[in-house]
């Protein structure tokens, strides 16, 4: 047929893995376990591949071009692995400290603007007056919700939540619930899109291949069998230790 053998095998493997992974939705079974261990192993292997790729491209290349200071980065990178050594594990703290310090610095310097000041500024700039009534109302509601939610997250001044003031937090919770409802519906949309992606793959790429229509029921029957508890299966007999 038109498709070459390599891509036929590729599609078959991908199809089997897809079906085996979905089976977890019903019950844990050995096919899922096999697929899952393949996944975890492949992911770890993939990380090594790109780790090596990155070390070569961003470390080795500048080093060979004369940026000798990068030797230090290499040495630090290698001592990261002392964390597995019983005695010298503390050496790995130095490279980790560089990574952590860099991460914190990059995060703090920008967070204060991007997630604190910019948000305050955007809220403070909302117009209640001089706009049409609906926009004015929406903006007012917006401001009230932001203020209420920030108020809700003030924990250590208990008097701020006593008596009638408690209503502010209650209101904040309602607003957050509305936002969670919105988020939840969006999450469904994401997941259905993903399920469709896999179903479409099985339907348009795998099933048209010769033999797939025959294989599908066999795969499903085997899966169902694998979900039967070991004691109830005629074969294979459960090992004593499990």
């Amino acid at each position: 047929m038109a498709a070459d053998l390599a891509s036929v095998i590729q599609i078959w493997l991908a199809a089997l893995f897809t079906i085996w992974v979905v089976s977890i939705t019903f019950k844990d079974n050995v096919f899922f376990k096999f697929a899952e261990h393949t996944f975890v192993g492949a992911a770890a292997g993939h990380n090594i591949v790109y780790g090596v790729d990155n070390v070569l491209r961003y470390g080795w290349t500048p080093l060979t071009k004369g940026a000798l200071l990068y030797v230090v980065a290499f040495i630090l990178g290698i001592i990261l692995y002392t964390r597995y050594h019983k005695k010298y594990f503390w050496l790995s703290r130095f490279p980790l400290a560089v990574m952590v310090g860099l991460g914190i610095g990059l995060s703090m310097r920008a967070t204060v603007t991007a997630e604190f000041i910019a948000q305050i500024q955007s809220t403070a700039g909302l117009k209640i007056l001089g706009v049409d009534a609906w926009t004015g109302f929406s903006n007012l509601l917006f401001i009230i919700i932001v203020l209420a939610v920030v108020y809700f997250f003030i924990f250590t001044f208990p008097s701020a939540h006593k008596g009638n003031l408690g209503i502010i937090s209650k209101f904040a919770r309602y607003a957050m619930m509305a936002s969670f409802g919105y988020s939840f519906a969006n999450a469904l949309l994401s997941r259905f899109n993903m399920i469709f992606g896999r179903v479409d793959f099985l339907y348009s790429s795998w099933l048209p291949l010769p033999g797939a229509m025959i294989a599908l029921p066999i795969v499903l029957i085997l899966l169902a069998y694998a979900m039967v508890p070991a004691q109830k299966r005629p074969w294979p007999k459960p090992s004593k230790s499990s």
């Binding site: 899952e36 000041i117 305050i120 500024q121 209640i128 003030i154 924990f155 988020s183 999450a187």
Partner: protein
């Protein structure tokens, strides 16, 4: 030379630094008071229900490592674990903690043993049976927790920590076996799932407050008080800013842009 447009941000960062460090110093002398945290109040009722039904309580702290950025969530989860363990010991209910991170095992054992000692039931604690290391792989761990839920049908399920996609599997499975659930995470994507399925909810930063409040750790409590001051500043800036905008002056906006 200060960079224009970043001056206010720098000032704010310094102010926050002072709030947080100051808060921690003050807390060493006297712990701050905390507001009521609705979810925590439900705990005695949840554990009591388990006692009535003679079924276990299940606890988990989700994924993440003690060394990563989500570590504070894990620490908060462990603080709640200590509190729930004490309640469970008092009520004579079995509490089972499902662990994802092998590195947490010794810490969790210590926390739970101390809780049982505080409740005067040191003998009732069986670490082997109550702290279960399931797997260090997300979905294997999820499958194992689901298996536990279906076999032992816990009366209550408490999930506090950094949760990822497995949160949906847990919430649904425990709901199905009839467990009453309390959940909390600061991972924004997972909160909605908990909000829909669980009976009690700790929202985002609430888990840190809950952890600090229960552990009575001066540094954590103080840090939260420092952050609260930051929130008050944000509140005032927004409130005054809105009024200023309504009055037609961009004074606050310009200040923030400085």
């Amino acid at each position: 030379m200060l960079v224009a447009g970043r001056i206010f941000a720098l000032g704010m960062l310094i102010a926050l630094w002072i709030f947080i460090v100051g808060g921690m110093e003050l807390a060493k002398k006297k712990l701050p008071q905390f507001r009521k945290i609705a979810g925590l109040d439900a705990l005695p009722e949840m554990v009591g229900r388990a006692a009535e039904m003679n079924r276990p309580v299940h606890f988990t702290t989700g994924l993440g490592e003690l060394t990563g950025t989500v570590a504070p969530q894990l620490v908060a989860g462990l603080a709640v674990l200590g509190h729930v363990s004490e309640l469970a010991a008092k009520y004579g209910v079995k509490i089972v903690y499902s662990v994802y991170q092998a590195q947490v095992m010794p810490l969790a054992t210590e926390i739970m043993r101390e809780a049982y000692i505080r409740a005067g039931k040191a003998d009732a604690f069986n670490a082997e049976d109550q702290i279960r290391y399931l797997s260090g792989e997300q979905f294997a761990y999820a499958a194992a927790v689901q298996g536990f839920a279906e076999r032992e049908r816990p009366a209550a399920n408490i999930m506090i920590g950094p949760f990822y996609a497995e949160s949906q599997l847990f919430a649904e499975t425990f709901f199905r076996v009839g467990a009453i659930q309390l959940a909390g995470t600061a991972r924004g994507y997972q909160i909605p799932f908990f909000a829909v399925v669980c009976d009690y909810l700790l929202i985002a930063e609430e888990i840190y407050a809950a952890g600090a409040y229960l552990s009575k750790d001066a540094l954590q409590c103080g840090s939260i008080q420092g952050q609260d001051l930051g929130k008050i500043v944000a509140w005032i800036l927004m409130f005054v800013g809105v009024l200023a905008t309504a009055a037609g002056t961009p004074i606050i906006i310009n200040l923030l842009k400085a």
